[in-house]
């Protein structure tokens, strides 16, 4: 459960990147985009973020039933906090 706030922060971190890059992309593509294109680009941005986050997110939610898993999960959390500066 201690890892839950990290999940929230990591999600927010990635979402900021996704939105910023998506807006950059849309501004390059001009205004009258077909809806299909707009949708495909949005799906692309979500697909990449979600698939990259899947592993780390999963490893923040090991159920902690044995101690090794719990220790590892906390180590994963600390590493993610460091690598994405999630505590500042």
């Amino acid at each position: 459960l201690e890892t839950v706030p990290t999940i929230k922060k990591l999600r927010a971190y990635a979402e900021r990147i996704r939105v910023a890059e998506l807006e950059k992309c849309l501004s390059k593509m001009g205004d009258d985009l077909p809806k299909k294109t707009r949708r495909a680009v949005d799906d692309l941005s979500r697909g990449i973020v979600n698939k990259i986050l899947h592993g780390p997110m999963q490893h923040l939610r090991c159920d902690g039933s044995d101690s090794r898993t719990l220790t590892e999960t906390l180590e994963n959390m600390h590493a993610l906090n460091r690598m994405f500066s999630l505590e500042t």
């Binding site: 459960l1 839950v4 997110m57």
Partner: protein, 118 residues
């Protein structure tokens, strides 16, 4: 014409959200929700519900935000298509985290994580 009005309110709501004005965004999404319901447009209804949830979340009204994110899940069920559900599960979990209910947050993050690979 109805549809165009609906879409312009959704767009206005999104712009207010982007410009850090969640109160005004909420009003726009409320009008959009009403219009979408009148025209039985499930896809736009879902967008309005998501917008309402996001607007409330930005105002720190987490309990109410959860209601609208749950509405997204309900609309998906009725529409038989699950777009936006991953995000809704994540948002509900974020709200529970803010409310300090980490147990519930964890349960919703699990649903969220299970959908990340789709």
């Amino acid at each position: 014409p109805k549809k165009q009005e609906l879409i312009s309110h959704l767009k206005a709501g999104k712009n207010f959200l982007r410009n850090q004005d969640p109160e005004k965004a909420f009003t726009e999404f409320q009008i959009a929700l009403e219009l979408a319901r009148n025209t039985k447009d499930l896809i736009e209804e879902k967008k309005a519900a998501r917008g309402l949830g996001a607007s409330l979340q930005r105002q720190g009204k987490y309990q109410e935000a959860i209601k609208y994110h749950n509405m997204v899940l309900g609309i998906s069920k009725r529409a038989g298509e699950s777009s936006g559900n991953t995000e809704a599960y994540g948002a509900i979990a974020d709200c529970y985290t803010e409310l300090g209910d980490l147990e519930k947050a964890g349960k919703f993050y699990d649903k969220y994580i299970a959908r990340l690979e789709d």
